[in-house]
């Protein structure tokens, strides 16, 4: 059964429903433009909504993201497609774009689901939870995470045994396995690319033992461990559930490193590591935290003060890149590095190691256009041809870029860049009129 193509039109298509895409959409919608956000995940809010707290103010990420996200999802001028993908965008004439968008079935009627989680309780299947970065399991019928938006269930069809338990449990009969992929043809006047970034995969550096040693985890996994809806209820080692008391951070994992093909600085890792260190010291007061760093890049408003604060709290900053990690029998880890200040090779033992992984481009952005050329820079981020005077402009007229699609950025910078993208879009649209 071939489903028919649904045609709709909007003023602007925002590709990506993270904090940058959402902010851009909100700015446009507040000025009266009709916006469609296409998000490939089940929830909008991007990576930010999964964070614990944010630097340098230490307010919880949820406190900032949830009001934003609910404002976005409630806005009458904003339409959101989750679990959807922009397959292709073509420019039609001088003004319009036509985008082919596919919406994957969620197997749940979004409007009817009340988020009661009864289906989740009923589902017998357990698989690793990608929203907790595989630290725990989740069901095949599940709500992605407690502050997801929309906060409704979804069925992970790949892992579903089609037993029907969820359907029987659902009080509103909102689960529907007859849903099929929907195809849309969307006509828009402008496009905002807010496809965000990818995290560096530490498997690329085998000498750090990620994947092999359970107590070597990524900063995003630690972010979850520190979040209010954390997988372990407290900070624990994944190897044996021990409460760690000597934690190390390996900065520049996959950043500033030509040997893995990424020479640029990821701009956020120093600060989020310092933030996590402060949070750990808050939740595990007896723990020692050491950051192995090259240069601390605390450059933004209030950042350097935040760094000084961490030093004051007793976080140890050791200058030197960790070269190798080896595991001891008890799960503790030996880090080998050169202590730059003494010039000596040193080894130190920690019971948990966090790899502060860097920012890589999400190359999905480069596949959006088939006929037009959305230029990329040499690292495959979206190129900014007039980076000084119009940073939100791209190589295609009418296509603008927001957030980390152009390169590493922290949240305030992403939000400002999203504001700029919305601004440029508005003036483009009003000039076109």
């Amino acid at each position: 059964m071939q489903s028919q193509i649904i045609k709709e039109s909007f003023d602007t298509l925002v590709v990506g429903g993270g904090i940058a895409g959402g902010e851009a959409a909100l700015n446009l919608a507040n000025n009266g433009y009709k916006v469609l956000i296409v998000e490939k995940d089940l929830s909008i809010g991007g990576k930010m909504i999964l964070l614990s707290k944010v630097f340098p103010t230490l307010d919880c990420a949820a406190c900032i993201t949830t009001p934003k996200v609910s404002e976005i999802s409630r806005h009458p001028n904003i339409t959101i497609f989750t679990k959807s993908e922009v397959k292709n965008i073509d420019k039609i004439g001088a003004k319009d774009f036509v985008a082919n968008v596919t919406k994957q079935p969620r197997y749940v009627h979004v409007d009817d689901c009340t988020g009661c989680q009864l289906c989740e309780e009923a589902c017998p299947v357990s698989v690793t939870d990608q929203y907790q970065f595989d630290l725990v399991g989740r069901k095949a019928a599940f709500i992605p995470f407690s502050i997801a938006s929309p906060k409704v269930a979804a069925i992970d069809i790949e892992n579903c045994t089609l037993c029907g338990a969820c359907e029987r449990a659902c009080p509103t009969n909102c689960i529907d396995f007859t849903q099929e992929e929907e195809n849309y043809e969307i006509q828009v006047k402008s496009v905002v690319v807010a496809t965000g970034f990818k995290l560096f995969d530490p498997l690329m550096i085998p000498r750090y033992g990620f994947g092999l040693y359970k107590n070597v985890i990524t900063s995003m996994q630690m972010e979850r461990q520190l979040a209010p809806t954390r997988p372990f209820n407290t900070v624990l080692r994944p190897s044996d559930g021990k409460m760690p008391d000597n934690i190390a951070y390996v900065l520049c994992t996959g950043s500033r490193d030509l040997s893995v093909g990424n020479p640029i600085c990821s701009q956020i890792c120093c600060m989020y590591s310092i933030k996590q260190a402060q949070l750990i010291m808050g939740s595990l007061p007896m723990a020692d935290v050491t950051l192995y760093y090259l240069n601390i890049r605390a450059f933004g408003k209030g950042f350097n003060e935040f760094y000084d604060q961490a030093k004051g709290m007793g976080v140890d900053f050791t200058k030197g890149k960790v070269a190798k990690i080896t595991e001891k029998e008890n799960g503790n880890l030996i880090l080998r590095y050169e202590d730059i200040e003494t010039g000596k090779v040193s080894e130190s033992e920690h019971d948990m190691v966090i790899l502060s992984v860097g920012v890589l481009p999400n190359q999905d952005a480069n596949k959006l256009f088939s006929k037009e050329d959305l230029k990329e820079d040499r690292f495959h981020f979206v190129n900014q041809p007039d980076i000084l005077a119009s940073p939100a402009k791209t190589s295609i007229e009418g296509v603008f870029v927001a957030g980390t699609a152009t390169g590493p950025m922290d949240i305030p910078d992403s939000i400002l860049s999203a504001g700029a993208a919305a601004s440029e879009t508005i003036s483009y649209l009003s000039r076109k009129k």
Binding site: E121, P124, V125, S126, V127, L135, V136, G137, R138, K139, E158, N159, C160, T161, L162, C163, G164, C166, E167, R168, C170, N173, I175, D176, F177, T178, K214, P231, F232, N233, T234, L236, R237, P238, S239, D240, G241, K242, M243, M286, G331
Partner: protein, 92 residues
């Protein structure tokens, strides 16, 4: 085709085969869940203790205990004397 609400899984089951690995995974999880819960019914235990008793690796035990805690079967008890490992127990 009109399918009765609340019974649509059957419809999809006819159209799409459930991979063997998915069923295998369910079996595996149900088995582990049972072993862990049975063990904890006897007494509270830390993860290393459970691991010893069940002859399962500590990372696996950690993962499943945390998962079962998330699903509401297990609760966290007191921490041991060394302040290292929490005890886990069946949730009433």
């Amino acid at each position: 085709m009109e399918v009765e609400k609340g019974k649509t899984a059957k419809y999809l089951k006819e159209k799409r085969k459930v991979p063997a690995s998915v069923l295998e995974n369910l079996k595996e999880f149900t088995k582990i869940k049972k072993t862990i819960l049975t063990a904890l019914k006897e007494s509270e235990m830390t993860i290393p203790e459970l691991s010893k008793k069940l002859d399962m690796s500590t990372p696996d035990v950690t993962y499943y205990v945390m998962t079962l805690q998330k699903y509401g079967f297990i609760a966290t008890g007191e921490i041991d004397d060394m302040d290292e490992y929490f005890n886990y127990k069946i949730k009433e």
